[in-house]
């Protein structure tokens, strides 16, 4: 698309601000955003631990038991408790965005934001219950 030559976006005299590396520290809402994004690393960590656990099951009893023993060491328990809190923070902040992203209609009726949020929490509870049942129920 042709750009008006009188208004080139690269005019050498126009001032462009340098963006500071800690731009996100300027405002609480940016800090909240960065926290939400950065905590996704811990979600990934949780997924990796779960995959490793599944892999040790495939490798046989000894490997699985060794991994379980590592999981039960006090330092790992403390670290994983902190990771759990961080992942909960990520999940809550992530779920709270759902109503803004979804416009659900039932016929002519638009489902209110609260109901969409409640449905997400309900789904979270159901899936967590299922996982808990698989892991602990036997």
């Amino acid at each position: 698309m042709a750009v008006n030559p009188n208004y080139t976006p690269y005019h050498p005299k126009w001032y462009r601000r340098r963006i500071p590396i800690f731009w996100w520290a300027r405002k609480l809402s940016y800090v909240r955003f960065i926290s939400r994004e950065m905590t996704s690393v811990f979600v990934a960590y949780g997924a990796v631990v779960l995959l490793l656990q599944a892999w040790t099951v495939l490798r046989g009893d000894d490997t699985y038991r060794g991994f379980q023993q590592w999981l039960e060491t006090p330092a790992v328990v403390v670290v994983h408790a902190v990771v759990l809190l961080i992942v909960l923070f990520h999940s809550v902040t992530w779920l709270s965005l759902a109503p803004q992203a979804l416009a659900v209609h039932l016929g002519r009726y638009r489902v209110p934001a609260g109901a969409i949020l409640a449905a997400h929490y309900l789904a979270w509870l159901v899936v967590s219950g299922l996982v808990g049942w698989v892991l602990l129920g036997r």
């Binding site: 698309m1 750009v3 001032y15 731009w23 965005l97 992203a101």
Partner: protein, 244 residues
């Protein structure tokens, strides 16, 4: 308090390499907006100060500036609502500064054209067929997005736009949604070609500040996320029903 200090960012490209601050003492009036104080400076103290404004009633979207770090319409921001101390006025972030408080908005205007913010029709019924009727529910689907006044506060609040200047940006995407959701429009597929690119909706990481600062409650962040859901559904459909 009978007067207040405004610290205004000046940039005179013929004289200086980078912006500097200039302080002005202006009368404090309870019913004055920041724009009134700038107009006082322009009329009474320093005629060289440059800034944009037009309607003074929050409709034209011209007087957006950064006041004490927040992007805002200066015609809708009371002096009395600002914290004690000097009031800092800067141009909107994210746009190259031409002079003083005037930013260059060409980038936005080019991007806006790319999303085709007008009613697109593939077929045009004859005039004898009458108007394109629309129910109140159909109107409600897009009305919120039609309230955009192109004030650029959402771009100034969006850190992604400043970090990734190719990002089409909140207002342009919200305006694309305004037409996508209009029952009279048939251009959604054309807009999808533009918006589903990396510099379209997928650059947005949902900071949400665009919606927080919008003076018209347009909720561009919501528009973008809704469009992401639609684009993902479209991609899935094209996998399972490639013949459609």
């Amino acid at each position: 308090m009978d007067s207040v200090t405004l610290e205004v960012q000046r940039y005179r490209p013929e004289d200086e390499e980078a912006p500097s601050w200039q302080s002005y003492r202006v009368p404090f009036r309870a019913d004055w907006m920041v724009l009134d104080a700038l107009n006082y400076i322009k009329d009474e103290l320093d005629g060289t100060l440059s800034y944009r404004w037009a309607c003074r009633m929050g409709v034209c979207g011209s007087c957006g500036m950064t006041v004490n770090g927040e992007p805002t319409l200066t015609c809708a921001t009371y002096l009395k609502d600002q914290p004690a101390g000097p009031i800092r006025v800067e141009p909107l972030r994210g746009f190259p500064v031409i002079r003083d408080l005037v930013g260059d908005l060409t980038d936005f205007l080019e991007k806006l054209k790319r999303v085709q913010p007008w009613l697109v029709r593939e077929d045009e019924p004859p005039l004898s067929a009458g108007e394109h009727l629309q129910t109140p529910e159909q109107l409600a689907e897009y009305k919120q997005y039609s309230m955009c006044i192109n004030c650029m506060l959402c771009y100034a609040a969006c850190p992604i736009y400043e970090l990734e200047p190719d990002f089409i940006g909140p207002a342009a995407i919200a305006l694309a949604q305004r037409y996508n959701l209009d029952s009279r429009d048939q251009g959604a597929a054309r807009r999808m070609d533009v918006l589903s690119q990396h510099d379209g909706i997928w650059s947005c990481t949902f900071v949400g500040e665009c919606s927080a600062v919008c003076p018209k409650n347009v909720d561009p962040a919501g528009a973008i996320q809704r469009y992401k859901v639609a684009a993902a559904a479209d991609a899935l459909t094209s996998v399972f029903r490639p013949w459609r």
